[in-house]
């Protein structure tokens, strides 16, 4: 996994609550057996005016000019600012794959759906929870400032605005450690395999029917 340490990134605002994973990556793209290439279909139904299908040449599709991420000022954004319960719905990891492939490394919202939140960390992305009033303030600043960038420092757990305002954020210590070092979860867990084997043996003695 790619490490995440610090980012000074252009911010794109997506002013909606409850953005679900069906919206982030519609189901027809889940038929792929790969984990890359989902970026051009992120937010497909909002982003394009036609109906998207796998295998289309997305560069030739009609763009929806009303969709915020299509505005020229947000091209190249790597920070997504959005509202509560982002990523609700399906557990599809294709959602963070699509956002990551699109170019987002950080997502800021007042709250996230649990499974999506967890999936982000497995893909070198940092979802950040800030209080709703702080998120409101950032939305206001983004809308009036073209080229608005935020500086995100994972090590210090801070977000710094262009005006120098600093917003601290919380992150689980273990997830932070894995992100900062780009650590693969499986490799880490395999270091505990003696403990897993010992647990499994005890568990099997207690509930043998689980191992039929």
């Amino acid at each position: 996994m790619q490490a995440f340490t610090q980012l000074n990134g252009l911010v794109a605002p997506l002013d909606r609550a409850n953005v679900d994973t069906d919206a982030i990556i519609p189901k027809q793209f889940l038929k792929s057996i790969k984990r890359s290439g989902f970026g051009p279909n992120a937010f497909d139904e909002w982003r394009y005016l036609d109906q998207g299908e796998p295998g289309m040449d997305n560069s030739k599709r009609p763009i929806n000019p009303d969709f915020v991420l299509n505005q020229s000022r947000y091209q190249g954004a790597s920070v997504l600012l959005t509202r509560e319960n982002f990523g609700c719905g399906s557990s599809r990891e294709h959602a963070p794959w699509a956002l990551e492939d699109y170019g987002f490394k950080v997502i800021i919202a007042p709250s996230f759906a649990d499974i999506f939140f967890n999936n982000c960390f497995k893909n070198g992305m940092l979802p950040i929870v800030l209080k709703a009033d702080v998120v409101d303030g950032l939305f206001n600043q983004v809308s009036v400032t073209e080229g608005y960038k935020l500086n995100i420092d994972l090590s210090a757990q801070t977000i710094t605005t262009p005006a120098g305002e600093v917003h601290p954020f919380e992150v689980d210590a273990f997830r932070k450690h894995c992100l900062l070092n780009g650590l693969d979860d499986i490799g880490l867990t395999m270091q505990q395999q003696d403990k897993i084997k010992a647990f499994e043996l005890k568990h099997q003695q207690a509930q043998p029917w689980l191992f039929n």
Binding site: D15, R16, A17, N18, D20, D22, A23, P26, K27, Q28, L30, K31, S32, I33, K34, R35, E45, Q51, P54, G55, R83, E84, N85, C88, G89, S90, S91, R92, E93, P96, S111, F112, A113, D114, I115, N118, N119, K122, N123, D172, A173, F174, D185, I186, T189, M190, Q192, Q193, K195, I196, F199, E200, H203, A206, Q207, P208, W209, L210, F211, N212
Partner: protein, 470 residues
């Protein structure tokens, strides 16, 4: 100290714990074709093998067609979908599984229907699957939740999951449900109260007399929808209903282990006085048949209600959501729910495709016919075994005589990955779990209801109060 059921399930699976982050052991891993190929590929690239093959139960469900089975695999018109279904078979052949029910197997079906039906879901288990509706299995007093594909690979490789303990919420529903009010209505009423983010960070335990009196299938419907309240896991204490359901299924403990298993399962309830981080209470008598009007399961009202007006929104963010929902759904505020005409009906999904659901819908459809404005009414059983049981009871005849199409099992139009979908602008009464924009097809408009309400809407051509039908 008095423990909650969640605490008991979590604590009994902790392999190791450090600073609140635990490694928990996984007993059952359910696998389907959509969220597993990248995980198997990951194992292959790293030269890893599954830790315990006997924990894996797999089936193909999301992509499988619900008709044209006589043509076999070649009947799958979409080559990308076919490749994904074939890839699952290839992966299971290469890596192994305790059981695999491939496309067209007589026991194939929706993974959350197949697991319990086979006795592959048992009380006290930890159950995971790369699918958010894994919460369904919590109905058995199991700790069950959806995971992403990276975690699917992690569980395959290590038999463990890295977890932090959730907070606990108790949702208590007491009283007696009225006629025509089902587990689905209870689930939607709860979500209407908590909101779709209300359960974020929580494991929900459902309790109260309504849940105690509910069948296992009703409990599965309820736990299935826990994720729509934002909770990764929904759980229900074990009782005789649970144990009677589990007994005698193919993978259930056999005679020599049965007594010991039951003795343990009977401890799987929250202790008297156990503390929850939050409690929500509903009275059964207040719950009507529910219909969603918008693009989130929390946008829900009773059948005698109306599409709410903007003044009722709790804040600016919700106003914006509602305005977008009116536009997407093609509805205006204050429209009576019973005035909403429908184009299609879908009876199926991991929420409502079990035999009791089909019986309830058939009882409404019997001797009637779908309305002329209903272009398509699909009944998609949850599994091959549910389908066979329904046919044995003659339910297929009732449906087809009433103008419904009787299909092969699978996820079908719940998420419309196969050919079953809504066209843009079409409005559907659906027994599934999500009414998100585009969920049942781009531009499609979904109203979530119970099987009874879906069948009644099919016959009337618009939503009607199932309680008014004799």
């Amino acid at each position: 100290m008095a423990k909650t059921l969640y605490d008991k399930l979590f604590d009994s699976h902790v392999v190791t714990e450090e600073n609140g982050t635990a490694l928990i052991y996984i007993d059952r891993h359910l696998v389907h074709e959509v969220t597993s190929p990248q995980a198997f590929e990951g194992l292959r690239l790293a030269g890893r093998k599954p830790w315990r093959i006997s924990s894996i139960v797999a089936t193909a469900d999301h992509n499988t067609p619900t008709n044209g089975w006589d043509k076999g695999l070649s009947g799958i018109a979409d080559p990308v979908a076919r490749l994904q279904i074939e890839t699952l078979s290839d992966n299971i052949r290469e890596f192994g599984a305790k059981a695999y029910f491939p496309f067209m197997d007589s026991r194939q079906g929706i993974v959350h229907v197949v697991g319990p039906e086979q006795g592959a879901t048992l009380p006290g288990m930890t159950v995971v699957c790369g699918d958010s509706h894994t919460s369904t299995h919590g109905a058995f007093g199991a700790l069950a939740h959806g995971i992403g594909t990276s975690e699917v690979e992690h569980v395959m490789a290590t038999q463990c999951l890295v977890q932090k303990k959730s907070k606990t919420m108790q949702v208590v529903v007491n009283g007696i449900l009225g006629k025509g009010v089902t587990a689905k209505d209870v689930a939607l009423a709860i979500i209407g109260k908590t909101g779709t983010a209300g359960g974020n960070g929580y494991a929900i335990e459902f309790a109260g007399s309504v849940i105690r009196n509910m069948s296992m299938e009703g409990r599965m419907t309820l736990c299935n929808m826990a994720i729509e309240a934002g909770a990764r896991a929904g759980i229900i204490a074990v009782d005789d209903t649970t144990i009677n359901y589990v007994k005698g299924r193919p993978f259930s403990p056999k005679a020599d282990q049965w007594e010991a298993a039951v003795a343990y399962w009977n401890t799987l309830h929250s202790d008297e006085g156990a503390a929850f981080d939050a409690t929500v209470t509903l009275n059964a008598e207040d719950i009507q048949p529910q219909v969603t009007w918008g693009t989130s399961p929390e946008m829900v009202v009773g059948i005698d209600g109306k599409v709410p007006s903007l003044e009722m929104a709790k804040n600016e963010v919700q106003r914006g959501d509602w305005e977008r929902a009116y536009a997407y759904m093609g509805l205006t505020p204050n429209t009576l729910i019973s005035d909403i005409q429908i184009d299609k009906v879908f009876i199926g999904s991991c929420t409502n495709s079990r035999i009791e659901d089909l019986r309830a819908a058939a009882a409404i459809a019997k001797g009637k016919h779908i309305a002329p404005n209903v272009k398509l009414a699909l009944v998609v059983p949850g599994s091959g075994l549910v389908k066979a049981q329904a046919e044995q009871e003659g339910l297929d005849k009732i449906f087809t005589e009433a103008g419904f199409e009787w299909r092969e099992p699978g996820c079908s139009m719940c998420l419309a990955m196969n050919a079953d979908r809504l066209a843009s602008g079409e409005r559907c009464a659906s027994t599934s779990n999500r009414n998100f924009e585009g969920r049942q097809g781009q531009g499609g408009r979904t109203h979530l209801v119970s099987p009874e309400m879906a069948a009644a809407a099919a016959v009337a051509g618009h939503f009607v109060d199932v309680r008014d039908l004799s």
